[in-house]
Symmetry: C2
Subunit: 338 residues, 2 copies
């Protein structure tokens, strides 16, 4: 393997091995509960978080076979949050299939999420104990990082629900929510990889900041695509975020800094089912004219750059080809069109 | 301290220290999420599971301060299952207070349960890591036992919901569900205590069987009290299990072995809102006349005796006064009137 590791190849390999590990370990009765728990995993997904964990771990000298159970655990936690979020948001579809509560009902969906959550801790610890891994301290630290992230995600979910009811959300409140709901689990993924590789405290912190920065950049880019993305590319309905009146970073900025006229237009149009595509186009243009689109895009790029500079300052890199892949990922996150 | 340890005194001490630990460690924002998560804990409860963990651990030479974080974790998992169960059963009250979803709504209740679940793993691992505990293997094993139990509880919950829809449930299906939904977490409590005390594999297994037996005995006794308990003592409405048509062990036996007449009466009366107290009295008497009450009571006693004989066969007892308390608990569970 050379200096470069193709990101797409790595994503595919990790996805294959993580899925295999999950399917082998999530077996039990009653069958419908396990079917419900695995439904969203079977429906696809890129396994970005597991890949971040694996690449972070391999880059710092970790062992592939030991990383896979924890990479799977991160995906199980992520999927559990999706199942419970879909219940709360009353969403009908996810990854092109019916949501779990729509297919099996709310009680089974709650329980299926709970099962994935417990399996996220059961499966990697069982694997460690039966494979005679001797470094129990790093296992315990990985469990601690993952459970801490899951607590922060729950806080983020609660904040997100609060904000839906709130008239005004400030930029810093919003970014704090994004950190908790989205970035915390990505930060945990890169940190767990480093810890399981036996990295120094400083390198663990650097990997953690890498994950946090790309996690926040990811959500900001999502907010931009929610208004300016090409519906044919993103697969989402045109102006869906504006239509739903979602308080994205761009919207918060527009409400804070826009003219009286823009703010009035926004209040008329946001979340208004009768507003036309032309109305949304107009509002999107006004936000762009304020420089908010450009400025927000630059911020996402800056976060990706900061993430990359964290990688550049790592001291204990053993396999630089995986650092290359992590850099590619940071760049991909902010340049993607969907 | 002599050979005897008063069970009530121990329950009170553990409850005080576990509650203190939980309140100190479950602090965060948004405040309403933490209030919702702590609501059922604040409403009371005897902390039976934490006490089992602590007594099992102390009996086998464990250290009190190290056991408390895991004892708290078991209570957090237990409470999380109560919050989610109340949503699924649409119950309005628990421990004399409004249920979490009734007070804060379903989305907050789901998230509050999720938060307790993640804290159950975060809090003891953080405590170990910051207190410089060196026996990381036993910590990892405790995490593994707790997460495995939580998976089994989720399976038990799914089975319980399935049985509500099912016409016929066999005795062995029912007992398997009871093991998963109720006994698995009690079994985990005694096993975790033993593991954290550094007990031998054989003693861990014995403690595990102790917990499993009293866990099943507990539910069987509950089923008996659900029909023959004194409403003034239990605090539950008279014949509530019959009124709700709950498939308890006694009911399953009556349906399996009763006369054609009894089975017909049961089908008329069970879960029938128009049935009178006299109807239920009659049915309860018919079940008793078949010998089912007596036989089921004897079985609960036999399970408690088996649990006690597991304790008697322990090899590594360091502090017998805690074995005494565990025996008292086994006896209490099957002789209680509420």
């Amino acid at each position: 393997m050379g200096y470069k590791m193709d990101l797409r190849e790595l994503l595919e390999k990790v996805a294959k091995d993580v899925d295999k590990f999950i399917y082998e370990n999530l077996v039990g009765t009653p069958k419908h509960l396990y079917d419900a728990a695995l439904h969203i995993i079977r429906a696809g997904g890129k396994r970005v978080r597991p890949t971040i964990l694996v690449a972070s771990g391999l880059a710092l000298g970790g062992e592939y076979a030991r990383l896979i159970p924890y990479a799977s655990a991160v995906e199980l936690v992520h999927t559990f949050t999706l199942i419970h979020d879909d219940i709360m948001d009353n969403d009908d579809f996810r990854r092109g299939v019916e949501t779990v509560h729509r297919k099996w009902g709310v009680p089974v969906a709650i329980t299926a999420g709970d099962l994935l959550f417990s399996k996220a801790f059961e499966v990697p610890t069982s694997s460690e104990l039966s494979n005679n891994v001797h470094d129990h301290l790093s296992s315990l630290r990985a469990v601690n990082i993952l459970s801490r992230a899951a607590s922060i995600v729950a806080e983020g979910q609660a904040l997100d629900m609060m904000f839906e009811e709130k008239q005004m959300v400030t930029e810093s409140e919003y970014l704090d929510m994004v950190y908790r709901k989205t970035a915390a689990l990505i930060e945990a993924s890169s940190a767990m990889g480093a810890v399981l590789a036996g990295a120094s405290e400083e390198d663990v912190e650097r990997m953690k900041r890498y994950g946090r920065n790309i996690g926040i950049a990811f959500q900001i880019k999502d907010d931009i695509l929610g208004i300016y993305g090409d519906p044919e590319v993103t697969g989402k309905p045109v102006y869906s975020d504006l239509r739903e009146g979602k308080k994205t970073l761009l919207l918060i900025r527009a409400m804070e800094r826009g003219s009286v006229e823009l703010r009035k237009r926004l209040q008329q149009v946001l979340g208004n089912r009768n507003a036309s595509t032309k109305d949304f186009e107009e509002v999107a243009k006004m936000i762009e004219d304020l420089g908010i689109r450009r400025e927000t895009e630059l911020e996402a790029y800056k976060l990706a750059e900061e993430a990359i500079s964290e990688l550049n300052s790592l001291k204990g890199v053993k396999r630089p080809e995986y650092i290359y892949a992590l850099k590619e990922l940071a760049t991909f996150i902010v340049s993607r069109e969907k």
